[in-house]
Amino acid sequence: MNRYQRHIQLAEVGASGQEKLSAAKVLVVGTGGLGCPALQYLVAAGVGKIGIVDGDRVSLTNLQRQVLFDEKDVGLNKAIQAKEKLEALNSKIEIEAFPNHLGLENAEELLGKYDIILDCSDNFVTRYLVNDICVRLEKPFVHGSLYKYEGQVSVFNYQSGPSYRCLFPDPPKSGDIPNCNEVGVLGVLPGIIGTLQATEAIKMILGLGSPLSRKLMHYNLLDHRQRIIEFSRNEGEIKKIKDLDTISLVDTNDCQLETQISIEELDNLESTLFIDVRELDELPRVEKVNVSELPMSQFSKEIKSIPVEGMKVFFCASGIRSNQALAKAKKQNIPNCYSLMEGADELETWLNK
């Protein structure tokens, strides 16, 4: 029995459609809430070559929505763990894991190797990088993004269609409200949006229906209200990106920062100052190491109290506020600052091992 029987039975797909899927190459950027479900469906559908990029490690708070992972994966690289799980689902396809963050140094080469890109990232820096590289390579990519109970999906650069910058020419400014001040998200939302992203990729491969090109789908989970907003290509924005000698990362107030550190990488605990940027009533308080308390609500006012000497590691509940603290410290040119990728819970557990 052919494992893709139910695809082949569809007149619009058939054996030839299944062959198209098996000849297709899809890269998924980010293996978080969006990437996990998208990958499951792409792998199950028999997309022949799938790449997974993610430099992050699985944390306990990911498990509420990142359905590829389980408790044993906590602390391990997401791309590598995802590959392992997905190979169990379908051993007949080729899956490549890239356990690094997408950056200027690797993006063009990596994206260049695939036909379709899924942007399942969680920050504007990566989103604009994916867009700009895809514009220059004239490669279609499927955008998916979330805010609490709402999601957006669109297909960019498809058959001379518009790009992400045709919709939002510039990222929110650095002065904008932070995009990830520990925003909550209902766990099923990325399941819905990530599955829609996989749907769009599969439709493009099969030539089925009409992809969301020139359209932004906006979905609100609370009332299931969907809106499909049309927009058009902005030649000026496309040309601006194509004409650049080299592209650069956008400057925005965002989650992603380059100086993150994970628990596994910590050493010389005696000479490290841990700076707890959570508010004073947040638990658990960490005491086994050298900790100084600098809640985000006081951070800007007290930033001068951070010593210049020695290694400093900011931490919070999940690694997001600590990133913001890191950004502020960097602006003040305070050297040797890091943001802990994990939260206080994981730090406490690790210190008690």
Binding site: G144, S145, Y147, D176
Partner: protein, 77 residues
């Protein structure tokens, strides 16, 4: 014109409401953005797009509808 604005994503949080009616004198989207900001200065530093009849408005697009959607980009994933 009395226009109903529907705010999406974090804009509804920034403004503390999902929608509101504002008295507007602008004739096109470019002027409307400036006018919204004078009513709602919290939006000054935010990025958003306006849509009417489910179409993104360019700055020269005339205002024809009495319902306008205000969309920010989302970053979460």
């Amino acid at each position: 014109m009395n226009i109903e604005f529907r705010y999406h994503g974090k804009l509804s949080e920034v403004l503390g409401r999902n929608s509101e009616r504002l008295q507007i004198t602008s004739q096109n989207a470019g002027d409307l953005i400036k006018e919204i900001i004078t009513h709602r200065p919290q939006l000054r530093e935010t990025t958003f797009q306006l849509a009417q009849k489910n179409k993104i408005m360019k700055s020269e697009t005339p205002i024809e509808e009495l319902d306008i959607d205000v969309f920010p980009p989302f970053s979460g994933g």
